[in-house]
Amino acid sequence: MDRSIVQLTLVRFREFIRQPEAVFWTFVFPILLAVGLGLAFRSRAPDKVKVGVVATQPAAASVIASLKKDSSLIVETMTDSAAALALRTAKVALLVVPENGGVRYVYDPQRSESANARLITDRAIQIGGGRTDPVKVTERRVTERGSRYIDFVIPGLLGMNLMGSGVWGIGFAIVDSRGKRLLKRFMATPMSRAEYLMSFLFSRLFFLILEVVTLLGFGALVFKVPMRGSFGELSVICLLSALAFGALGLLIASRARTVEGVSGLMNFVMLPMWIFSGVFFSSSNFPSLVQPIIRILPLTAVNDALRANMLEGTPITALGFQLAVIVGWLLLSFVLALKLFRWR
């Protein structure tokens, strides 16, 4: 208990748990985010499609009868002018206008909902008119765990959390101490600089375990997010990621004197990764020109490695590129941080 590494690490714990907002952002916020996203993008039966039929001709009756046989359609009959308004305001996805013994479809093919309505409506009308399909079809419906949005987003949230708590947790505490001249005061004692930095490492590793267990435990219990890879390998990925982001935090904090200054710097570093590194949506949505840059961002490598392990059960040996990126950032940031670090 009297060793200074123990005391320094205890200080890290005390300062963290006595700061309710830090506890909230580290542990509660990711879970709230997961719940919100899980609810918003939960799997459900596909919506029924609303189509309007312009009932000015007697032929409309047989068209309506055909459409009503298809359970995935909601049919509304309307007058000409009401129909135009309904289509324009997206109350219906498509208009069916019976004419000359046939039908005319009025819709916007750019809207995927309308394009879908065109297919369903046409099928219903053709079947109603006596079409028989030449190929017999049977269906078996599966909704596979691992391919839902929540499965995609939980590893992304974990990666984002590892980045946030590494960069904030370490960077903020160091710059705060420097700004308050506490770091300078410590320099006037025989305190070991290595032990001071190690205390951040130890406390980070402890909180890392809590963070990972909370978020993944929540995902697995509530949303049944699959964990197909080895737990040991997942731990290695999380550990290396936490170290890399901690080193990045150390680098960002290595010279800044004020909390305001370092906050701007942290957002400048983290914001591109929140957007480009595939937290909420796949990074493959960005043009192929920028892909090489996106792939060497640390958060991209972390998210890709976490998803590969959890969703596909990929062994760590097949994640060489991602691990190389993570370890590369770890070494680069740490060495630079030690070189640049301002102790006073």
Partner: protein, 255 residues
């Protein structure tokens, strides 16, 4: 022949910040067991001088020797023997008084019991209070406790009573006198003449980065006595501050 090593020897000390010469050829010798005061207006170079002596600032030129050691040769050994209070340190507000002292105690190989130091600075009642809840005087006593917890040979105090109310000032003076009575050395900076007069065996008056007068408070007063007419005699030597302290209570109130 026995020679007693002075606690602190400074020779030809110089330090500039750009064009500004903060310290400009300063010489100083502080004997072991002495309470030495560096006086001077703001910006005279007091803090720069003391921080160079503490090993916190690099000097441009000159020699600094503490207890026969130098920062170049024995920095680790020196740090064990010095107790330091800086002018602008803010201790972590989330920690308690006892936790703060335990932390500082853990940095030193040998030192004093945390509880003894808390008792010495009269913060027993605040032992488990967060630093953020302490008054200015209590925070300053804690800062001095942190400086004393390593059981130092030399205590550096940089404007220890600036901004404190009269009770807190006197409480700190008592604390400093107790430390001096154990035979150890104190180097303090101040811009309060009454403080220097009460605490210091010798003082150096610094302006524009060098010493313009040096000696015991008594000697310095004598030296100007001849050229400046003495102030009109007073009935007692009490000051208005004594009146204030007498009226508001001599026992040092915490709040």
């Amino acid at each position: 022949m026995v020679t007693i090593t002075p606690a602190l020897v400074v020779r030809g000390l110089r330090k500039s910040y750009g064009d500004v010469k903060a310290v400009d050829g300063l010489d100083l010798e502080v004997q072991s067991g002495e309470c030495f005061g560096i006086l001077g207006p703001n910006g005279a170079g007091k803090t720069t001088t003391i921080e160079i002596c503490e090993g916190l600032l690099e000097r441009d030129s000159g020699d600094v020797e503490l207890l026969g050691m130098t920062w170049e040769h024995e920095p680790d050994k020196l740090k064990e023997k010095l107790g330091i209070q800086l002018q602008d340190t803010q201790l972590s507000e989330k920690l308690t008084v006892a936790e703060t002292l335990q932390l500082f105690r853990s940095f030193y190989k040998v030192g004093r019991e945390v509880n003894d130091v808390i008792e010495m600075v009269q913060l027993e009642e605040k032992k488990t209070a967060r630093v953020g809840t302490l008054s200015g005087g209590q925070k300053q006593r804690l800062a001095i406790a942190c400086a004393m917890v390593g059981n130092p040979e030399i205590l550096f105090l940089d404007e220890p009573t600036t901004g404190l109310d009269p009770q807190s000032r006197r409480q700190l003076w008592t604390l400093i006198e107790e430390f001096r009575s154990t035979g150890r050395t104190i180097l303090l900076t101040t811009h309060y003449m009454d403080e220097a007069e009460r605490l210091c065996d010798r003082v150096a008056i610094v302006d524009h980065g060098h010493i313009i007068a040096q000696g015991s408070p008594h000697e310095l007063i004598e030296s100007i006595g001849a050229t400046i007419p003495p102030p009109p005699p007073r009935a007692t030597s009490a000051t208005l501050e004594d009146v204030f302290v007498a009226l508001t209570g001599r026992t040092l109130r915490d709040e």
